[in-house]
């Protein structure tokens, strides 16, 4: 019995290792936004990773989403993870208001259970999801989750924040109504910096 048990654990471990290697390979194989320059791309990712971290400081979640005062803030990456280890390095040893941060990578397809998503406080929605992006936004629209994606379009279809590269800088669009629907409070300073998207309906119930 005991041997069987160990075997199972080993198997499980091996499976996850393989999937990790595959994910890494995939990450390197697929360029983002068609940018060719690897150095610029790397820099942009660093900035975005830093932004993801900084967003957590300017967003207030409803108190009941955390178990206690030291529960971690969970950043979920949905779809193919463009950051590699950058995001992990960025948040390493960082705390926001006494909470550590963790990164969770989630494979999700439209129509699947949102239980894995529900455990995250911030979701970076990779463009690799394609049509799934809109489905995901719909699925989590009324959950207290800060959704962040790529492009102005992401914010327009109901995402909360959308990154845009502009003149060598990364700026972001913000959808206040989407944030309100998610019961998230965005800091006024953050809103001042963001490009506001107005008159865009939030995904309906």
């Amino acid at each position: 019995m005991k041997q069987d048990c160990n075997l199972n654990v080993m198997k499980r471990f091996r499976t996850s290792l393989v999937s990790l290697v595959m994910a890494c390979a995939l990450l390197r194989a697929v360029p983002l936004h068609g940018q060719s320059n690897e150095v610029d791309e790397d820099k942009a990712l660093k900035v975005k990773a830093a932004y993801l971290l900084n967003f957590t400081k300017f967003v207030t979640w409803p108190a009941d989403v955390f178990e206690d005062a030291h529960s971690p803030i969970v950043i979920g990456i949905v779809g193919i993870d463009p950051f590699g280890s950058i995001l992990d390095r960025t948040i390493k040893d960082k705390t926001v208001a006494g909470r550590p941060l963790t990164v969770r990578r989630i494979q999700w397809r439209a129509g699947e259970s949102t239980s894995a998503l529900k455990q995250c406080h911030l979701l970076y929605v990779s463009p690799s999801l394609g049509d799934g992006v809109a489905a995901l936004i719909d699925a989590v629209a009324h959950m207290p989750i800060l959704t962040i994606g790529e492009g102005e379009e992401f914010a327009k279809i109901g995402g909360i924040l959308g990154f845009v590269a502009e003149g060598g800088r990364i700026v972001f669009w913000a959808n206040r109504k989407a944030a309100e629907a998610a019961k998230l409070q965005l800091n006024s300073q953050l809103l001042k910096l963001a490009r506001p998207i107005e008159d865009v309906a939030v995904a309906k119930d």
Binding site: C5, V47, N54, K57, F58, Q189, K192, L193
Partner: protein, 1185 residues
């Protein structure tokens, strides 16, 4: 500027005022300016800090998201304050992030990397603030602030201060001038006034006062000083006048004192004197000397020998020498002596003398002479009085005492004679004491009849009043005795009647004088006192005589008499008392009667006794007293208080008689009566118990007989029923035999036949018969012989066998575990009669010390409940002891409750000298206990007339089986308990586990707790289900007793099946169906590990083995193969827990333990059933899952 000393007072004042106010103002102005300077700086910094903090807070997002434009627009907030020259925002890496004003060219001084805080330099304030987000510094803000405005404000402040200072000085100067004037004027005036007084000496001059200040006070002080000088002159004059007045007053006072002293000396009732110490010539004698001694003072003062000349010749030498010697020694002294007064009277003087000096320095004697004549006479009378009382006390006879009394009276006056006459029963006077009269006179007087005019005494006695005849020659009372009086030279006679306290006349006391004489008051007192004393003496003497006579009577009585005073101290006892108690009168006097206390009486009795007699009443009663030799006796005691005339208790008289013999007789009678009653009562109890004992086996016999007659029993059941009937018949016979034996013993009709018999064979025989019983109970019965045992002994073998059978059988009966040993030995082999001793040692329940004393008594059972629990008649020990006694020995017992008992039987065994002595190896008999075969066999249910769960509480095993059998056969489920306590327990437990009994059958007479108590207990705790009483007592009123205890109904033993069924059915009707449902539908048993899929396969394997194990267990229990059963149970115990069935492990453990310890088979059977049930449930649960 002139020097300080030369300056006028005016200038000094002016300078002082200017300097003081000027320096004060200057200091105040400087302090204000410095304060203002500091405050301006601080307010500027704090104001700017607030502004900068707001900006810094608004910069956090811009810095976080690297938005320089947003930062610059935030900095633009500073444009509201023109003093802000510039502001910059730096990143943590000290690179410039944003700048204000945007237009301003970056100055070299705007550098990053400054630490937060503020600095003043070059007319600027530089303020640095960190921008923090989430406790992390994400940048710095640096603000440069121009201070020009601040410095302008400071300048104007200084200018204003200087102006105010100048103005203040000018005002101070103006105010100083009038004050100066008011100060100077009074000083000048004072100086002028002082000058005037010293010139003129006129102390009347005063200075005017202008104000209340210090100068005003100085003027007041000056005026006060001048007036004090004036006052002192006046008071000196007054003092002189007062002194003169006081001298005059004192002189007058002294004169008055002198007059007073003279008066005192004259009035004091003593002679106060002064005389020269050498010549004894008096220099002063107080006027009283004339009154006391009759000599005028002129006589005293002129003659140095005067004092010696007036002293009584008998006392003179003594008095003079006392005085001379004391004077020589220089000692004060006092002494008494007689002096002869001028009229020849003898006067007792007490002279107190002090030695002193007069004004001229020569030694003088001063003294006081006091007349103590009266006191001397009094003392003499008192001494006489005392003498009379002493004589009385000594018990002298009356004439002697009265003579002493008369002489004492006569000593009071030299020329007086005294006599006492007593009144006899015929109202005649009799001479009692008249020592100064001649017999002729006395004979003439003696026997005179008293009357209203019979001399002094005859009249006094007649009237009971004092009669004073001052002159006999003329008094008519003495008419008949005048000649006689003349003859014996009697001129006057005063007679006082002698009266008792209640006024009865006892006689007279008379005083006679040669010449006519009138009594003085002192003399009347004397005669009265003498008469009182005489009354006392007469009464005392007479009552003493009376007492003597009484005492003699008391001494002569046969009862013990004791007389105490009011405090209970013994005053008198009579010889009979000493005879009863053993104490002599001498030993008892002065003690208290409590030395007789035996301690056998309660204190309450004595308390009540004292309460009664103190209240003046007589107490009688029976008490146990103790003699001197510590033996006890019963005393019939009567105590009476003795009262005086006033009703006060003066003592107590106790009379007691020794009634020990009487009470002893009564007590014996009572004892005999109560013993007879007890014997009668015991016999009744015994008969009641015997009837129960006989009826119990009878019930079994009748019941099984009925079974045999009514049912179609299997051959086994039939055999069993017949053997039960046989056994009970045997038991019945044994009981009847015991009763017969005991009756014979009691009646003395049992015969003893001594023959030579083999003692070891008898022992072996008895042991072999009884060993079966020991083995059935699972312990060994051993026999040991110690030393040599005779081959044959002379005794009655039948009775010896009976003794041993009883003792060993008894030991086995009361032992549950351990062993029973029989130890035999022989003593007195070389003597005329040898003795065989048998000790039966058990490890049974033992006997309490109180029960031991009653153990061998017939008709008295050690414990009725115990006897019932262990069976038997309870007569065995009594019979054994009686038999042993008839065989010349005895049976004794030692026991420790809970440990065991040892019974020792001894018998005489005759002459052993010619008998061969054998040695017998110690026999140890120990057979492996056999498991008894199963008796019960529940056959297939044939009659289905009864349903339900029943509890049978019944102590007799045969009845248990019989009733259970009948009920089970009828289809009921029956559980059996053997006493009331267990019944209560079982019923309540069944109720708690929701498997309540539908009905309880309760035997009413059971050990530990009987059926009545058990039923009452159940009803008390709220048990409401039916309880049917079962009882062998076929007496009237039993049914009511059962119902009263809480039973629903009643069935009699022996059991009549139809009646019993009818009763049960009537009460069981209600609650049957639900109960049955529960039992037949067991819950599936699920493994605790069932949810673990990894275990599924193993569990499957374990459970598939289960049916095999179950059948193994069942085979083992059917074959009574305990070893296999224990082994199988052990395996199941070990594995079931591991597969998540702890409950099976527990049940298997019970089976294993019971199998190993040879527990009762039916208990084991139940345990196996439980285990098998659990196993089946486990399998069933798995199959259904």
């Amino acid at each position: 500027m002139p020097s300080n000393r030369a300056m006028t007072f005016r200038r000094k004042l002016l300078l002082f005022a200017t300097l003081t106010s000027g320096s004060g103002l200057l200091l105040a102005a400087t302090a204000a300016l410095i304060g203002e300077w500091r405050e301006l700086h601080e307010s500027t910094v704090s104001q700017l800090s607030v502004q900068t903090d707001i900006v810094a807070a608004n910069l956090s997002a811009a810095l976080s998201f690297d938005d320089a434009r947003s930062a610059e627009s935030t900095l633009a907030a500073f444009h509201t304050d023109p003093c802000v020259l510039a502001a910059t925002v730096c990143k943590p890496d000290n690179s410039l992030f944003a700048i204000y004003p945007v237009a301003a060219s970056v100055q070299p001084s705007f550098q990053c990397g400054l630490t937060p805080g503020h600095t003043f330099s070059k007319g600027q304030l530089t303020l640095v603030r960190a921008v923090r987000l989430n406790d992390e510094t994400i940048g710095t803000v640096i603000v440069h602030y121009g201070l020009n405005v601040v410095y302008d404000r400071m300048f104007w402040q200084v200018v204003v201060t200087v102006l105010v200072l100048g103005g203040a000085l000018a005002v101070a100067h103006l105010i100083a001038s009038p004050i100066r004037k008011s100060l100077l004027r009074p000083v000048t005036e004072l100086a002028r006034a002082a000058h005037a007084i010293s010139n003129t000496g006129d102390y009347g001059t005063r200075v005017a006062r202008h104000a209340d200040d210090e100068l005003g006070q100085l003027a007041d002080a000056f005026n006060l000083m001048v007036s004090q000088v004036q006052n002192r002159d006046a008071s000196l004059r007054n003092t002189r006048d007062e002194l003169e007045q006081r001298v005059w007053e004192r002189t007058a006072e002294l004169a008055a004192k002198k007059r007073q002293l003279g008066d005192i000396l004259r009035d004091v009732d003593a002679i106060v004197w002064e005389a020269d110490a050498k010549t004894w010539e008096f220099s002063f004698v107080s006027e009283r000397a004339m009154d006391i001694l009759g000599y005028p003072s002129a006589k005293w003062l002129g003659d140095p020998n005067f004092w010696a000349s007036i002293i009584h010749p008998e006392d003179r030498d003594q008095a003079i020498s006392t005085c001379v010697q004391a004077t020589e020694r220089g000692e004060d002294h006092s002494f008494a002596y007689r002096a002869i007064a001028a009229d020849g009277r003898v006067v007792w003087l007490h002279d107190t003398v002090r030695i002193g000096c007069n004004d001229h320095g020569s030694q003088v004697l001063r003294g006081i002479m006091i007349d103590i004549t009266e006191r001397k006479r009094d003392d003499a009378f008192k001494a006489g009085h005392r003498r009379v009382l002493e004589l009385l006390n000594e018990g002298r006879d009356l004439p002697q005492v009265l003579t002493a009394l008369v002489k004492t009276a006569e000593a009071q006056a030299p020329d007086m004679r005294c006599s006492v006459l007593l009144l006899d029963n015929e109202q005649r006077l009799r001479i009692a004491a008249a020592p100064s009269f001649v017999d002729e006179y006395n004979n003439a007087i003696d026997g005179v009849q008293i009357g209203p005019s019979v001399g002094s005494c005859g009249t006094a006695a007649y009237l009971g009043k004092r009669v004073i005849v001052e002159d006999i020659a003329t008094d008519p009372l003495w008419e008949n005795f005048r000649e006689l009086a003349q003859k014996f030279d009697i001129g006057a006679c005063w007679s006082e009647p002698i009266l008792t306290a209640d006024g009865r006349v006892l006689g007279t006391l008379a005083m006679y004088y040669s010449r006519p004489q009138r009594p003085e008051p002192a003399e009347l007192l004397l005669i009265e006192a003498a008469a009182d004393l005489a009354a006392l003496a007469i009464e005392h003497t007479r009552s003493a005589a009376e007492r003597n006579r009484l005492a003699m009577a008391v001494d002569a009585t046969a009862d013990g008499v004791i007389v105490t005073d009011a405090h209970g101290v013994i005053q008198h006892t009579n010889p009979a008392f000493s005879k009863i108690t053993g104490y002599t009168t001498g030993e008892l006097l002065g003690k208290r009667p409590n030395i007789l206390k035996s301690g056998k009486q309660t204190q309450e009795l004595y308390d009540r006794m004292w309460e009664t007699i103190r209240a003046g009443q007589t107490w009688s009663g029976l008490v146990i007293n103790r003699r001197k030799d510590a033996t006890f006796y019963d005393a019939a005691l009567t105590i009476s208080p003795v009262n005086d005339e006033q009703g006060h208790i003066t003592g107590y008289v106790g009379v007691q008689r020794d009634v020990t013999a009487d009470t002893e007789r009564e007590r014996k009678l009572e004892d005999a009566l109560s013993q007879a009653e007890a014997a009668n009562r015991s016999k009744s109890e015994f008969l009641a118990n015997m009837s129960h004992e006989i009826r119990t086996p009878m019930t079994a016999i009748l019941g099984f007989t009925e079974q045999l007659a009514a049912d179609s029993l299997s051959p086994d059941e039939e055999r069993d029923a017949i053997s039960t009937i046989h056994r009970n018949g045997q038991h019945l016979l044994a009981i009847i035999n015991d009763i017969l034996d005991l009756s014979k013993l009691e009646a003395g009709k049992l015969e003893i036949h001594r023959t030579p018999c083999d003692v070891m064979a008898i022992v072996a025989d008895v042991v072999s018969l009884l060993r079966v019983r020991a083995i059935e109970k699972g312990f060994p019965l051993e026999v040991e012989y110690e030393g040599l045992i005779p081959e044959t002994i002379q005794t009655d073998p039948l009775r010896l066998r009976q003794i041993l059978f009883n003792l060993i059988g008894n030991a086995i009966k009361f032992t549950e575990t351990g062993s029973v040993k029989v130890r035999a030995n022989c003593t007195g082999v070389d003597q005329e009669t040898g003795r065989m001793l048998f000790a039966v040692i058990d490890t049974g329940i033992g006997i309490g010390p109180d029960a031991i004393s009653r153990l061998f008594q017939p008709f008295t059972q050690a414990n009725a409940t115990l006897t019932r629990r262990f069976g038997g008649t309870g007569l065995g020990l009594t019979i054994a002891k009686r038999l042993a006694m008839m065989l010349g020995g005895d049976v004794t017992v030692e026991s420790t409750p809970g440990k065991g008992s040892t019974f020792r039987a001894s018998i005489e065994c005759g002459q052993l000298s010619s008998v061969r002595m054998l040695t017998e190896p110690v026999e140890v008999a120990q057979m492996a206990p056999q498991a008894p075969a199963l008796n019960e066999n529940d056959g297939p249910t044939t009659i289905n007339t009864l349903r339900g769960r029943l509890l049978l509480a019944e102590d007799g095993p045969d009845n248990q089986r019989l009733i259970a059998h009948i009920l089970r056969k009828a289809g009921a489920e029956v559980e059996i308990v053997e006493n009331g306590e267990l019944a209560v327990h079982a019923a309540m437990q069944a109720l708690a586990t929701l498997k309540p009994f539908d009905l309880i059958l309760m035997d009413m007479q059971m050990p530990v707790m009987d059926g009545y108590a058990a039923t009452r207990r159940l009803r008390e705790v709220g048990y409401e289900r039916p309880i049917i009483a079962l009882t062998a007592h076929a007496l009237a009123g039993d049914r009511e007793k059962c119902i009263a205890a809480g039973c629903n109904d009643y069935a009699t033993k022996p059991i009549n099946r139809n009646t019993l069924f009818a009763v049960i059915k009537e009460h069981i009707r209600n609650g049957e169906s639900a109960t049955m449902e529960k039992i037949t539908n067991p819950q599936p048993l699920i493994s605790e590990l069932a949810s673990d899929p990894e275990f599924a396969e193993l569990l499957e394997a374990f459970l598939s083995e289960m049916p095999k194990r179950v059948s193994g267990l069942q085979d083992a229990i059917s074959a009574s193969d305990l070893n296999t059963l224990a082994r199988l149970a052990h395996q199941l115990k070990g594995s079931a827990g591991g597969y998540g069935y702890p409950i099976i492990t527990e049940a298997a453990n019970h089976v294993e333990q019971s199998a190993k310890s040879n527990a009762a088979m039916d208990q084991l059977q139940k345990q196996v059933e439980t285990l098998v049930d659990l196993c089946r449930r486990a399998v069933a649960a798995h199959g259904s899952a």
